[in-house]
């Protein structure tokens, strides 16, 4: 009874706190502008199924893909055990599914055990890749500090969770032989049926119960901790990969988002469209300089990013030592989004444009922008080659915000690299990308 009450308090409290955090993430993502969702919905579901659920793009790199798959599938199957933990916790029963499912239960637990061993191996390999082998994309400078710790913490959590599972199952197997009435027969378990007796065979009944309970509570505790850690961590990708692949833009990769406001303005200048009078109004800001001028899909991408760095490892600018790193672009957007949300939540009038009105995304100015996170040098280094877009296993598009920030720089600030000016002038004045003295038919004359 004490355990049931404790369970309800702990699980209820942790879930409620996690819920508020997830809602905050949702609000942060929606600080971005609305974007019309176009295209084929069945293609979107196909992406969710193949790319998020099926991990298709992970397999562009076999080694990490296989180990990642171990952890992922183990995680999926462990949910069955987690459901049982919740039922046992609420009703004060023990291994609720064991008597109910019989041989099928043995199969499920065995699957979880084998996958857990594979996940255990994978976790150590991942720790080694980050800390011993120092795989280049996993040790780049943008990961210094919290991102590096974050990555290692998740892997350590994983190890603790797996230790908890095997303590719980191992002690249980031994207890089944001593008190079959309370400890239902789970059948032969691939790992625990020999690991349990080997580790805990000599323990007294009391000590065994303690180990089993400790494993159970630790398992639960890690799950609840993990749930609350997720919103603060790159590990959020395990959830957001699904919406992100669903909402990934469907337009051709080579098509930059059209800007109808400018198109219509130019059309009316050229006498191609009826002057709607729109040109007389003050022109809005173009492009993006902050979270509120990006699309919410860009911000969703930033929260989906797990900082794997596949984008940066294929970026031609990054590979040749330039400042640009597509991963850093996404990390910067996330950091800035966190900052904007926190400041808006603070309600401090100093962040308001109009102090009389309540602080919200339309009434917010903290004197900073994304340009305080992302330098112009980074933006100018992009060749728009789309290698980062192709590389992302969860369909994040780092190119989109780069191009939106270039638009802001050129259209709103009239800034940008000086060497582009002759190109702009030449296109505007003579319709050619270079200022030329020969005509376009010159080549026919040779």
């Amino acid at each position: 009874m004490v355990q049931q009450i404790l369970f309800l308090i702990l699980a209820g409290g942790a879930s409620a706190y996690a819920w508020t955090q997830f809602m905050a993430i949702r609000k942060t993502i929606l600080l971005g502008q609305d974007e019309v969702i176009t295209g084929d919905t069945s293609a979107r579901w196909r992406n969710v199924l193949l790319i998020a659920f099926g991990q298709k793009k992970m397999f562009k790199r076999w080694i990490p893909a296989v180990f990642h798959l171990f952890i992922y599938v183990a995680f999926l199957f462990t949910q069955v055990e987690l459901i049982e933990i919740f039922i046992d916790g609420v009703f004060g029963v023990h291994r609720f599914f064991a008597s109910l499912l019989g041989g099928f239960y043995t199969l499920i637990i065995n699957t979880i055990e084998i996958l857990s061993v594979l996940a255990f191996v994978a976790t150590f390999i991942f720790l080694a890749r980050r800390n011993l082998l120092k795989v280049p994309r996993l040790v780049k400078s943008e990961l210094n500090g919290w991102p590096k710790l974050d990555a290692n913490l998740i892997l350590i959590f994983e190890v603790i969770l797996l230790v908890a599972i095997f303590s719980m199952n191992g002690a249980d197997v031994v207890l089944q032989g001593r008190d079959p009435l309370h400890y239902h027969d789970t059948g032969f378990l691939a790992v625990s049926s020999w690991l349990g007796p080997a580790l805990f065979g000599g323990l007294s009944d009391g000590a065994l119960v303690l180990v089993e309970r400790a494993g159970w509570w630790l398992h639960l505790g890690m799950v609840l901790l993990f749930l609350n850690y997720l919103p603060k961590s790159k590990h959020l990708h395990i959830l957001l990969a699904f919406p992100n692949t669903f909402f990934a833009r469907q337009r051709p990769r080579g098509e930059m988002e059209n800007m109808p406001a400018i198109m219509n303005e130019v059309k009316s200048m050229m006498g191609l469209a009826e002057d709607t009078g729109a040109a007389d109004e003050e022109l809005p800001e173009f492009g993006a300089n902050d979270i509120t001028t990006l699309s919410w899909i860009d911000v969703l991408g930033a929260y989906t990013c797990t900082e794997c760095g596949r984008c940066s490892s294929v970026c031609p600018a990054n590979a040749t030592g330039k400042q640009l790193s597509p991963r850093k672009i996404m990390m910067d957007i996330r950091d800035r989004a966190d900052e904007v949300y926190t400041k808006i939540q603070s309600g401090k009038p100093e962040y308001a444009v109009d102090a009389e009105k309540p602080l919200d995304k339309t009434n917010f100015n903290d004197g900073k922008s994304l340009f305080d996170y992302i330098t112009r040098e980074e933006l100018h280094a992009c060749t728009t080659c789309n290698a980062c877009v192709e590389a992302c296993p969860v369909l994040i598009n780092p190119l989109e915000p780069i191009l939106k920030m270039r638009r802001y720089e050129i259209l709103t600030e009239s800034a940008g690299p000086g060497s582009w000016l002759p190109m702009f002038n030449s296109i505007e004045n003579s319709g050619a990308a270079w200022s030329m003295t020969i005509d376009r038919e010159e080549w026919t004359k040779a």
């Binding site: 190109m423 296109i427 319709g431």
Partner: protein
């Protein structure tokens, strides 16, 4: 070369089979002009009725748009669409993947919808249909040729096989680059980089890519884009290999092998 313009066809009340969109590089750059002439020669050999816009053609606006200058892009794009629609153009071929991408993927939203093919796709078609005949045992037979996928034809528009099929028709030996097709490495010119210096770094991107191409031991680096042509030629020159290794557009390879 006698090349007819759309205006000339219109004056005769005729329509050509296809419009050849030459692009700025193909019109003005010395090296790219050779590609333009080679391709025009192939079209002529194939007895294809084609026209150019000549001085009515303008930059598609690609570099301005990617630099962030939407105003300039819209100005030239809308003017081009006006011209194309006036001549009721239906099918366009271009030897520049940037022009190809912009006309194919970006002009429809502005009111210009055409069937657009890249010259490597048309070359493949002409070879397949027997409209152009190639020499038996031509200049490149048995030679090691490597092929550099341009970003805008390859990864961005998914055209990987047509250029390879064209190369296969030369009976040469295709050596793939380490990073090819979806994983191809940019030459460094896209996104308006062609018009500015590289940002500070350890190395220029075209050097990185040229080193990779030279490592294949191929005597020809085949390209499909005028910007890649410049970047790879510069890279090969920087490595002082210009006497041993040629950087050539696919149409230059084919024109040398016409029967």
């Amino acid at each position: 070369m006698k090349i007819k313009t759309m205006a000339a066809y219109a004056a005769e009340g005729k329509e050509p089979e296809i419009l050849f969109w030459v692009g700025c590089a193909g019109s003005f750059d010395d090296r790219a002009q050779k590609v333009t002439r080679a391709f025009a020669e192939i079209l002529t050999a194939a007895e294809m009725e084609f026209a150019i816009l000549g001085n009515e053609e303008q930059c598609t606006g690609d570099p301005a748009r990617r630099a962030g200058n939407e105003f300039i892009f819209q100005m030239v794009a809308l003017q081009n669409i006006e011209t194309l629609n006036m001549y009721q153009v239906k099918k366009i071929v271009t030897a520049c993947p940037h022009c190809f991408n912009t006309i194919k993927n970006e002009y429809p939203a502005l009111g210009g919808t055409y069937e657009v093919v890249h010259h490597t796709q048309l070359l493949q078609q002409l070879i397949d249909e027997g409209r152009i005949k190639l020499k038996e045992g031509g200049t490149f037979q048995g030679k090691r040729i490597t092929y550099h996928d341009s970003c805008y034809l390859g990864r961005i528009n998914g055209v990987y096989e047509a250029p390879r099929a064209v190369l296969a028709s030369l009976d040469s030996q295709l050596v793939e680059l380490k990073r090819s097709k979806q994983n191809g490495l940019c030459c460094g010119a896209g996104g308006a980089q062609m018009w500015k210096e590289d940002e500070p770094g350890d190395k220029r991107i075209n050097i990185e890519r040229s080193e990779e191409a030279l490592a294949t031991g191929a005597s020809v680096i085949a390209v499909n884009c005028p910007f890649c042509l410049t970047m790879m030629s510069d890279g090969v020159k920087a490595k002082e290999k210009q006497d041993e290794v040629m950087v050539l557009d696919l149409s230059e390879l084919i024109v040398q092998n016409l029967a």
